[in-house]
């Protein structure tokens, strides 16, 4: 059905996970969003992804697509590092890209946009049927 069952994250609009590893960046947490200043959220208790809650506290901003891209990136990192039981979300704002390590700095912008789409697509799919 064309329905949006489950809880949507107040920050990125994707569904949250309520089952499985609670350390998962997409796991649902409940936060009080009185000071967020976000037009899309009303003051009060909101459900967010664990990662989105921290990004919101850090004042990362960004449009919805970028928020989803960040979530997609950290989810991907989390899944990749799971066997090693180690997980860090440093550099999430750059989606893991380093201008200095690029063939040509002018490519950064393009690669960043492409990475953003890739990560956002990944997050949208990953969380489409989350429960």
């Amino acid at each position: 059905m064309v329905s949006r069952l489950g809880y949507q994250c107040a920050y990125c609009g994707l569904r949250v996970r309520l089952e499985g590893d609670p350390r998962h960046p997409g796991h649902g947490v409940v936060e009080e969003l009185t000071k967020s200043g976000e037009p899309m959220t009303l003051p009060g208790l909101e459900v967010l992804h664990r990662f989105c809650a921290s990004a919101l506290r850090a004042g990362s901003g960004g449009d919805t697509m970028l928020r989803r891209a960040w979530l997609g990136w950290v989810t991907d990192r989390f899944e990749a590092s799971r066997p090693r039981r180690h997980f860090g979300i440093r550099h999430y704002s750059r989606l893991g890209l380093h201008p200095a390590r690029m063939r040509a700095p002018r490519l950064f912008r393009k690669h960043w946009q492409v990475r953003k789409m890739r990560c956002a697509a990944l997050a949208s799919h990953y969380y489409a049927n989350a429960r």
């Binding site: 064309v2 609009g13 899309m40 449009d63 697509m65 946009q113 789409m117 489409a128």
Partner: protein
């Protein structure tokens, strides 16, 4: 004889040499484009396109006078090849005739002379058109505004010289008695009589000079053609053969890089996203640019150009061609080290296509419809928009709001999904809302669309249609608040990524809904031509196959089957019908809405621009969501045209057209024009007519 043989061959060798160099350059240039797929499949249809469009000149003949003139000129090129064969033969042997008796067969002589004469008349027509359409005098109103004018006149002159030298050559040989046709070739033979006063020696010189001049003009013409817009003589057949089938309207193509569709979940970081530089275009794009004849048919139909905006599809293609030429050296050798110029940007910043040009397009498809050589303007414009949005993040600020609304709320208005069923309030009967699989007895999914759900004006259309379906006993159901935007506004504004996100989700959900039904049984009816186009013709790209019908098509069938009985009023109202671009040109639905309007007893007066030449309302191509700051507003232009028909009602079949035309009409009415005129959907007219036969069941508000 020997001298003329030597000179004849010299001309040929030099001419062919120059032509060969140029042809090789052009072939390599077009081959430097990116690969693309699906351009050779379905040979049968391609051969048919060749027969109708090249040999039959179908698209040119849409404009009768210039079309006919071009028809004769085209066929002259084909038929007069036999004269060139005779000319070459005459280099070797005086009085040469094509073998097997063909070369003395009077009907061929007649045909050669007749087509040459008709072409001569065509040249006069072309000259008159060019003088009347002189851009120096009528400026933007001329379809030749911005075209290369000098070259065009030169070509007319050369064609004239081809005909003149041909008749001099044939006339002098007729006078000398060496002309192979004894009858049939009436102009040549007549010319022979006229020249017979010159003595034999004089005639021999004249014949040789005319023959050599005839060959020289041909090669001069060939070289000019290869360096000018007249390249279309050779490229048009190629371009028509490799066009999008059936045409470059309707669905947009999926985004491709290196000839393969882009997978947004796993794109290559070096993939090409849309077209940011000339090097990003496919070979078909490059072939398009080189094929443009600068005829300006597209420009003359473009709503943006006709309302004073800087966009002209012709100038856009010409600018891209100039850019292709200027960066050709790098495309041909050394793509790697060269940084290609970013296409979209202001002239002063070195841009090729001004952002105001790129974003003015309503994707109405009038240019594609008219182009005689099948150039795919809309695809190129959308590809450049895709690059601007996805990679450069540069787009009109209003689109930022649109994207946010689509991402957060799933509709362009930014309304809450919970309001999606508000249109059905107080309808007088229950509209079934689906939750889960569609029950077997439900025939149609009624797709409401975002406009139908959230726009007050469009709600009336949806209500009228629902009521008509109810009266006709059609078993339909809706998705209610589970419906989301199909993705059309995202796609037309270049945000292919967002479109993919939205469309994939909707297609997956629709597939689940119709689980177990064959595509022909997956019936959807909608009042929105944009939803019709996206669901019906773009979703197959994502694995969603449904049979999508426009409400005017379904209602028309119901009237024909006697399930709805409209009753004409005592005094027939006069109406004019505005063709929505996405219903008409993009999906070829022209008659059902007109028949429906007729069935209600209304008198239909057509606007000058209607059916496949209809003028856009200004909302397509996501222009609905952008401000229109330059020139006259397109919707006002359209309203002026509608008011000139003196119809009391403007009917249409698209919620966006309805909004735009209503807005335009409101503006004119505030200026005391068009008092008493209103704008309705065809379904509203029909409902009113049906109510006349059963007044008791009336519930839907009329407006």
């Amino acid at each position: 004889m020997v001298v003329r043989l030597i000179i004849g061959w010299l001309i040929t060798i030099v001419g062919l040499g120059f032509a060969g160099v140029r042809i090789r350059w052009l072939v390599r240039l077009v081959q430097s484009g990116q690969p693309t797929t699906g351009r050779t499949a379905d040979i049968g249809a391609r051969v048919w396109a060749q027969v109708t469009e090249v040999f039959g000149q179908r698209k040119l003949l849409k404009w009768s006078i210039p079309g006919l003139a071009h028809f004769f000129t085209f066929w002259a090129f084909v038929i007069l090849l036999t004269v060139y064969l005779e000319a070459y033969g005459s280099l070797f042997q005086s009085g040469f005739a094509i073998w097997w008796g063909i070369g003395s067969w009077p009907p061929l002589g007649f045909l050669q002379d007749a087509i040459a004469t008709l072409t001569f008349c065509s040249l006069i027509v072309f000259a008159v058109i060019r003088i009347r359409q002189n851009p120096a005098r009528i400026e933007r109103k001329s379809r030749f505004f911005g075209s290369h004018l000098g070259g065009a006149w030169l070509v007319l002159l050369l064609i004239f010289l081809v005909i003149l030298t041909m008749f001099l050559f044939r006339g002098s040989s007729a006078a000398l008695g060496t002309f192979p046709y004894k009858s049939g070739a009436w102009v040549s033979i007549g010319m022979g009589h006229a020249l017979s006063g010159i003595g034999t020696a004089g005639l021999e010189v004249l014949e040789t000079v005319a023959l050599l001049a005839h060959l020289a003009v041909a090669f001069g013409f060939l070289i000019l053609v290869l360096h000018s817009k007249h390249l279309h003589i050779f490229l048009a057949p190629l371009n028509v053969t490799t066009k999008r089938l059936p045409d470059a309207l309707g669905p947009l193509l999926p985004m491709e890089s290196d000839g393969k569709p882009i997978d947004f979940e796993d794109p290559g970081e070096d993939d090409t996203f849309g077209r940011g530089t000339i090097a990003d275009f496919t070979w078909k794009g490059m072939l398009d640019f080189e094929t443009c004849t600068e005829c300006g048919r597209c420009q003359s139909q473009c709503p943006a150009w006709n309302t004073g905006k800087p966009l002209s599809p012709k100038l856009l293609i010409m600018d891209l061609r100039d850019q292709l030429t200027s960066e050709a050296p790098y495309l041909l050798n050394g793509k790697e080290d060269h940084e290609f110029t970013a296409l979209v940007g202001k002239k002063e910043d070195g841009g090729v296509i001004d952002p105001d040009v790129l974003w003015a397009c309503t994707s109405c498809g009038a240019c594609v419809e008219q182009c005689p050589v099948d150039i795919e303007h809309v695809d190129h414009i959308m590809d450049m928009r895709r690059h601007q949005v996805l990679i450069e993040s540069e787009f009109p600020t209003e689109l930022g709001t649109l994207f946010k609304n689509l991402e957060n709320k799933g509709n362009p208005w930014g309304q809450n999904n919970s309001e999606r069923m508000d249109w059905a309030k107080d309808l007088g009967f229950e509209v079934p809302v689906l939750d889960g699989e569609i029950p077997e007895d439900v025939e149609y999914l009624f797709w409401i669309g975002c406009a139908g759900a959230f726009d007050d004006n469009a709600r009336k259309t949806v209500r009228a249609t629902a009521e008509l379906l109810h009266i006709a006993g059609v078993n339909f159901a809706v998705l209610g608040k589970n419906e989301t935007c199909t993705g059309d506004p995202a796609r037309r504004s270049g945000n292919e990524f967002l479109f993919q996100m939205q469309a994939q989700e909707t297609a997956e959900n629709l597939n689940a809904l119709f689980e177990g039904r064959e595509p022909v049984q997956r019936r959807i009816v909608t009042t929105c031509p944009h939803c019709l186009n996206t669901l019906g013709r773009e979703y197959p790209q994502l694995g969603g196959n449904y049979t999508v019908t426009h409400h005017t098509q379904l209602l028309n069938a119901l009237v024909r089957d006697g399930k709805l009985t409209p009753v004409a009023p005592a005094d027939a109202a006069s109406v004019t019908y505005h063709d929505p671009c996405y219903l008409g040109r993009h999906n070829k639905v022209y008659t059902p809405p007109r028949e429906l309007a007729g069935a209600t007893g209304a008198r239909l007066t057509e606007m000058p621009r209607h059916a496949d030449r209809s003028l856009c309302c200004g909302a397509g191509g996501a222009r609905m969501w952008m401000e229109e700051k330059i020139g006259k507003r397109i919707n006002v232009e359209r309203v002026d045209e509608a008011l000139a028909t003196e119809a009391s009602t403007v009917v249409t079949g698209c919620p966006f057209c309805k909004v735009m035309i209503s807005d335009g009409l409101t503006q004119r009415q505030s200026e005391d024009k068009g008092a008493g005129v209103d704008v309705r959907d065809v379904s509203q007219l029909l409902l009113e007519a049906v109510h006349r036969s059963q007044p008791a069941e009336s519930t839907a508000e009329q407006g």
